[in-house]
Every structure is written in C-alpha cells, then in structure tokens.
C-alpha cells in the first residue's frame, strides 16, 4: 500500500505557489446561495468588467458562503482583507478605483457596529466573526470551489498524501479516535468506533457515504460546505475509504441543492483528473471512487436506513436497525455513513494532529461545530464555534441579539426533532451531551431564535405539522401518532383544546418515542415535550383561558385600537382587506371584531402603535 516517493499533492502545491501567495492581490466575492439571491453574481460580473475597463489584471474569485448572510453580498479585497458588506453593482467602480487600485478603504461599505457605530475593516474585528473558530468553514473565503488548484494551495489533499504514504488504516482510525471526532449529523456517534466496526466487519465490498440530505427548516450548513468546499468532503471520504477498506463512496445530496450538486460534480471530475480519485490513487495500490446520488427531498432520507433504501432505488423508508449499518448497510454490506461536516473534519485531524483537534471543545465533544443561526436574530448566518461555546455567546455576541428591541424567548436547536431551550438555560455550553440533557439535541446544527412574538404552542404545532408531512408512513406510532398530536395542537391553537390535552400529549410522546421504527418518530415529540416542559403556562393559557399570550394564534386574539394613540390618519382603513376598520378622519378609529381576520395589515401600517392585540 505504501509509496515512498514524494506525495503528489505536495508537488502539485509547490508548482501552484508560483501563481498564488499570501500577498497576491485578488477580490473574493461570496457566491453562496444566500449571496447569489442578493445578486452577488451580478456584482462579480461588474467587478470583472470594471477591472478590465481600468486595465487591472486582478482575479475575482467567486467563493462559497462566508457565513455572514445577513449582510450579503460580501466582497473581500485581498491581501488587505478589507471586508465590504451589502455591496451593490453601483458600488463597483469605486471599489476598483479606490480599494483595488490604491488600497483606500470605502467606509460606507464597511461593517458598522450597531451600538458603538464604529466601522470595522476586517472579518476578525467584527463581533460576528471574533469569537468564531472557523477551522472547517473558514477556508471557504479563500477558494473558488470549482477550482481544485485553489484547494491544493490551502494544503488540500495533503492529508490524503500523508495517509497514503505514512499511515496504516488502523493508524488513521486511531488518530480519529484520539481526536474524539463525533458525528456532526445529529447522533453524535463516535466516528472512529463506526470506522473500526466497518474495518472489522465481514462482507465485501464496503461502502463509505456522505450524508448531505440536510432537511431541517432553517438549516444550511451542510449545503454551504458542499457548495463552498467540496474537496474537503471528498478528501475526508477518500481517507475514510482507505481506513475502513472501501473502494466506493456515495454522496447523498438533495436535488434541491443544485449548486452543491454542480460543485461536487466538478470537484469529483477534477479529483479524478488529478489522480486523487479512481484507480491507484497517487501511485499507490489503493483505489477509490465517489458517485453522487441525488435525493428527492424527503426529510426521512437523512435517516441512515432510509438513505440506503433510497440509494438502492427503493422508496426512502427506514427499516429496523437491530443489525447495525457497520455490518449491514447499503446493499446489506458494511457501510460507514457520516454527515458531510464530519467528513470535512477528517483532513483537518490528519493535517494538524489529534492532539491539536482534541484541545478544542469540551470533555465529551471535541472540535468545532457549524451552526446556522436564523430566526429573530440580528446577524443571520452560519457560524463555526468550538464545542462548549454557550448559547448566550452564540446568540448575543455573534448573533448580535434580538432585533427591534424585543425580548429573547427561546432557541430551537436540532431541527424539527430538537427542542426549544428557554432563556434560563442560555448559559449552557453547547455540546452533544448538554443539549440532550436539557431536552433538545445538537442535530445537524440548526438554531432558530424566537422572541416574545413567538407562541410556543404555535411553534410546536408548526414542527409537528412538518413532521406529519415528512413521516414516511411505515410504522403506526409515527404515521398515526404524529398526525393525532398535530391535530390536538391545531385544536389548542384554535381555542378548542380540552382539559386533559397536555397530559395526553405527554403520554403519547412517550409511546411514540418508544414505539417508533426510526429516529424521526423517536424524536418527533421533542418540540412538544420541550415546550410543555419550559412553557407549560402558555399551553394552559390557550386551553383554560382561551388566550394566546404571544398574540399569535388567530382564533384566540382580538385586535382593537387604542383611542389615546390613534390620530385618525385613516391608513388602517385603507389597508384593511375586510373593511373591519372604520372611523372619521382625525378621530380615533375602531375595529369591527366580527369582520377582522387578524391579518396584521393594520399593525404594519400604523405609525403610532395604536393597534392592540390581546
């Protein structure tokens, strides 16, 4: 298996150094899905045209997601690393003539701290980035994901070279074990234990699979990794294949991620071309190749056995897993299934060593984790933090707190099957075990922040409605049980809840968690259980007092106009779709409760905060 000649990635990199370097001048523009939606590709075109017009030979690279999605499109001018946010096409001539040509900063494009009003030049100065540790995700900003050379320059495939020339498969597994890497997809299973299981399992061939079936509402970290740094995942998988004795791998990615599919395809083709995938990798006798399998968007296909069924060409339904996938996985052969983020951590562990890796994080959870921070939060985006960072630091320091001066209420972690964590627990360090202890889970890393305008019963209702749609329908507790729980939650939100509903929901939750075939049903009650646990009084207000304290559930709220505040401007009369508001000009208006559909149009239109919701 060994090849004692110099590893090729090093040679490739040395050649490339002629073209790249730390002082190279280039413009990086975020072309992740979020920034593309903001029009970053138009900005890129404008930059290229303007540079040509001004006769400057400077590269513009479209990078993957830079994380700070709230402020896209983002442009970073290297080598000074000036960080421009919310860049428009009209800003381009000035960026080129001032910053690119002369190194002058355009202060209006810099990030301005909302409190101190201080402008900040670079990523590392900004509170959003300051406390992050972007060891996996940070490379996104330095590379064009469609160019393998860019990845090679940042030490790409060095880990693979090292593994194939210096390490035994057992040595690789030991290194990953020492590093303490745990699965980033949700379960937090020890990666090395899985690998060891497959290495020792009988049965050929063996498979390695990357799970990119990210389906949680509001979560997009796996997507951004696949889009922004596909080679890191591929390199991890090749190393994994070598470690467990597999020659074939699959990346299961949802078809709704077209950019991820495109970038992965380009990356796989380039890696094959470079001899990093295919037969006799880097001149050794180890061969490995990767196929892409596009999923059709079923949430349940993120579950291992449903994912295997889907790759095998059958309906994505889970099966009982009393015999583990390490022994009987894809086509009943020994299979390693890891989340894409887990795979992207592997080259890092090999390059920097297990000791370095395990120095990051908590006792039981090592390394970093990427979270998508969304909802009622100032700085929407993707963050990567060391395990053990507190929820408070994530939401307030990096996230910038709650917009509009509103009050934090809860953070939902772990996707639809996770739980809602209240303010009193914001000090907990985020790791696999701690989140589980408080009734939620790490999941793949979604974090949805909610403020006092969110009704927790409505939140539980939303997630159960999602899971009802996404249940595969195979087993009774999940298919029928979630549907019935969802019905009860709909009733409570509609003011039709009955006295015993909370108890019934709790009993059902236990039975569904115990009785379901797979983890989808097994964790589906979490949003209900955690909201009952921490926000029971909201459920009681809905059921007993027919009141929605957050003013969300339409059947339980009424709109009225505060005559003290109303100036009689008539705006609410204009916008009301059902003619429920009326009144004379310059006199306090009123709302006809029978006609009012509580759509909220009047609230949005009123400049005097005169509409009350109770």
């Amino acid at each position: 298996m060994k090849n004692n000649s110099d590893t090729q990635p090093q040679q490739l990199k040395d050649d490339l150094k002629l073209n790249y370097g730390p002082n190279k001048k280039f413009v990086a523009i975020c072309a992740g899905t979020g920034c593309r939606a903001y029009g970053s590709l138009k900005v890129k075109e404008a930059l290229e045209a303007e540079l040509k017009k001004q006769n400057m030979n400077v590269d513009v690279i479209a990078t993957g997601c830079l994380g700070f999605c709230e402020k896209g499109p983002m442009v970073v001018i290297h080598p000074d690393k000036y960080f421009y946010q919310s860049v428009k096409v009209t800003d381009v001539p000035e960026i080129v003539s001032k910053t690119v040509a002369k190194g002058e900063v355009i202060s209006r494009l810099l990030y301005r701290h909302p409190d101190t009003k201080k402008t900040m030049f670079r990523e590392e100065d900004m509170p959003f980035y300051k406390k992050q540790l972007r060891v996996v995700f940070g490379s996104n900003g330095m590379i064009d994901p469609t160019k393998i050379d860019d990845y090679l320059v940042i030490n790409g495939y060095q880990a693979l070279g090292k593994v194939l020339s210096e390490m035994t498969p057992e040595g690789v597994i030991n290194e990953v074990k020492k590093a303490g890497l745990r699965g980033r997809g949700g379960g937090g299973f020890h990666t090395a234990v899985k690998w060891e299981g497959v290495r020792k399992a009988h049965g050929e061939p063996k498979y390695v699979i990357a799970n990119g079936d990210e389906g949680d509402p509001g979560a997009y970290m796996d997507r951004s990794l696949m889009e922004g740094n596909p080679h890191s995942i591929i390199e991890g998988m090749i190393i994994g294949g070598y470690a467990v004795g597999a020659n074939e791998g699959y990346i299961y990615v949802r078809n709704e991620y077209p950019l991820a599919v495109t970038h992965l395809n380009i990356a796989i083709a380039a890696a094959r071309e470079a001899g990093l995938l295919g037969k006799n990798i880097l001149g050794t006798d180890f061969s490995f190749d990767i196929h892409i399998n596009k999923g059709a968007g079923a949430f349940v296909c993120g579950e291992s056995s449903a994912l295997f069924a889907s790759i095998e060409g059958r309906a994505g339904e889970p099966r009982a897993k009393y015999v583990h996938a390490v022994e009987k996985g894809l086509w009943d052969k020994p299979t390693v299934l890891n989340n894409v983020e887990t795979w992207a951590n592997v080259p890092l562990i090999i390059n920097k060593g297990a000791d370095w890796y395990s120095s990051i994080g908590t006792e039981g959870s090592k390394g970093t984790k990427i979270f998508s921070l969304v909802g009622k939060i100032m700085n929407t985006g993707l963050i990567e933090v060391p395990m053990g960072t507190t929820l408070y630091e994530i939401i307030y320091d990096m996230g910038g707190g709650i917009p509009g001066g509103r009050k934090f209420k809860a953070v939902q972690t772990g996707g639809p099957s996770g739980g809602c964590i209240p303010e009193s627990l914001l000090d907990i360090p985020v790791d696999f075990d701690k989140l589980y202890e408080v009734g939620s889970m790490m999941g793949s890393g979604g974090m949805i922040v909610m403020d006092d305008t969110s009704c927790m019963v409505d939140v539980a209702r939303y997630f159960l409605a999602f899971l009802k749609e996404e249940s595969c329908g195979k087993c009774v507790p999940c298919r029928e049980g979630i549907r019935r729980m969802s019905d009860i939650l709909e009733d409570i939100c509609a003011g039709k809840g009955t006295e015993g509903d909370i108890n019934l929901l709790e009993t059902m939750s236990q039975a569904i968690a115990d009785g379901s075939l797979c983890a989808l049903g097994g964790s589906a009650p979490n949003p209900v259980l955690s909201t009952i646990k921490y926000f029971r009084e909201e459920y009681e207000a809905h059921i007993k007092d027919h009141r929605c304290p957050a003013g969300v559930c339409k059947a339980l709220i009424t709109y009225s106009i505060d005559p003290e505040k109303c100036t009689g401007c008539g705006l609410c009369i204009k916008v009301c779709p059902t003619q429920a508001t009326s009144g004379e000009k310059k006199k306090a208006h009123t709302i006809d409760k029978d006609k009012c559909t509580r759509c909220g149009a009047c609230i949005e239109s009123c400049k005097f905060e005169a509409i009350n919701v109770k």
């Binding site: 996404e470 329908g473 298919r479 549907r483 236990q510 075939l517």
Partner: protein, 237 residues
C-alpha cells in the same frame, strides 16, 4: 441454542429465532397484526414491542425482528411496553373504526377508543401493515399492488389506482390481510378484485369455478406446466 429470561422465566430457543417466536413458544402471548408467516417482516404495526435489557441498557424493540440472544432479559408487560401497545391500538381504532378484528383485539388488551381522536371515515379497514404488498411481491411475484404517497397520506393500491395489467386475481392479498380490508367478490364465472373483473376457470372434473384464468396462465408460464394440466381444482387433483 440461546438462553434468555422472559418475564422472569428462563427460556431457550434455537439461535436465530426471533423473540416473537421464542416468547410465544414459552406460552406467553404477544399481539401482532403485521407479522404473517407468508411474508417477510416489516415491523410496521409495532404491537409486538417488548422491553429488553442488555447490560445496563434498557430499550423497546419489536420482538418480530429482534433475534433472541443469550443472557437477554425481556419484559413483555412493562409500563413502557403497555403504553406503546395502548397508543397503537387507540390509533388504529381511530383509523379503522369499522374493523371488528381491531375491536376484538382492543377488548382483549383492555384498550378503549380514545375519545380525543376523531375517527377516520376514509381509510376503510386498512392499517397499512403492507402484508398484501409483500405477498404480491415475495410469494406471487407480480407486484401488482404497492404503497403510494408518504406519511398520513400513504395508501395501498394498484399504480394510479387504475386496473392492473399484471394482477392475476389470485387473492393472496385478501388471504394475508389481517383486517379484511381488501374486497374480493366471486360470483359465477367472475371474480372482482382491485377494480378488475377476472374470468374464472371451471374444473375439468367437478365443473366448479375455482381460479381465475389469468392466474392459471401465469402459473403455466412460470412453471412450464401446460395449461391443460392446470384446469383441475385442488380438491379433484
């Protein structure tokens, strides 16, 4: 042989036996709806759950799919087990309020309909145990019926609910259905099932209609036995 404890009783079973058979073999009853001897097991109904203890870990598993192991401690009547079974029965009663089989079973298990669940009127007696789909695929080998949609919209039927060209009208699906959901009517020389009418064959000896012509043709094609040798009913053979 493996030795295990079930409800405090020591039992042994041949290696590879599923817990369901091992436990029933020891005279302890376990309810099931989807485990039919003619088809492979899916673990869909979840009624056969038991609580197992292995080392310090306790968990709920379906006995129909979990192989008996040495030293396993099984509890078939723990609170957790009964809570799952009760919910499954309540859910099925609400789904198929007309089913006598479910009503009888619920009575035996002392489970009553949960008044908070509004009974369905559009599901017939189908509990989606998928035995019919499996028998059609695994035993008959025609896969005329399958599962469609997902979650609570899941249904069983022929593709697009149209008349199936591959169905041979054999009625194996009717035979394995635990609740009697699948309708099959045989009158005179006609049999109706899954929306299609099949012509029945008369027995050369007794003259009774005994099987759809399409089924005999299928058997003839599959086995190579000429049609003329198949037109005698099983009783006259």
């Amino acid at each position: 042989m493996v030795n295990l404890t079930v409800d405090g009783k020591n039992i042994s079973a041949p290696k590879g036996t599923m817990l369901l058979e091992a436990i029933r073999g020891a005279g302890i009853s376990i309810p099931t709806l989807c485990a039919h001897e003619a088809v492979s097991r899916s673990g869909a109904c979840r009624l056969c759950v038991v609580e197992i203890k292995k080392g310090n870990r306790t968990r709920i598993v379906t006995s129909c799919l979990y192989a008996a192991e040495d030293g396993l401690i099984v509890n078939t009547k723990s609170d957790r087990v009964l809570n799952v079974r009760r919910l499954v029965m309540e859910l099925l009663l609400a789904r198929c309020p007309e089913s006598e089989v479910l009503q009888k079973m619920a009575k035996e298990m002392s489970v009553e309909a949960q008044p908070r669940f509004v009974a369905d009127s559009d599901k017939g007696k189908c509990i989606l145990c998928r035995s019919c789909v499996r028998v059609c695929e695994e035993v008959v080998g025609v896969s005329a019926i399958g599962l469609f949609s997902r979650g609570s919209d899941k249904t069983i039927g022929t593709p697009y609910n149209e008349k199936s060209d591959v169905c041979i009208g054999c009625g194996a699906c009717v035979y394995v259905c635990p609740t009697g959901h699948i309708e099959m009517t045989s009158t005179g020389d006609k049999r109706k099932i899954w929306g299609r009418t099949f012509k029945m064959q008369t027995c050369d000896k007794c003259g009774k209609f005994f099987a759809p012509v399409d089924q005999l043709k299928f058997i003839s094609k599959k086995t190579g036995v000429p049609m003329s040798e198949l037109t005698v009913c099983t009783e006259c053979r």
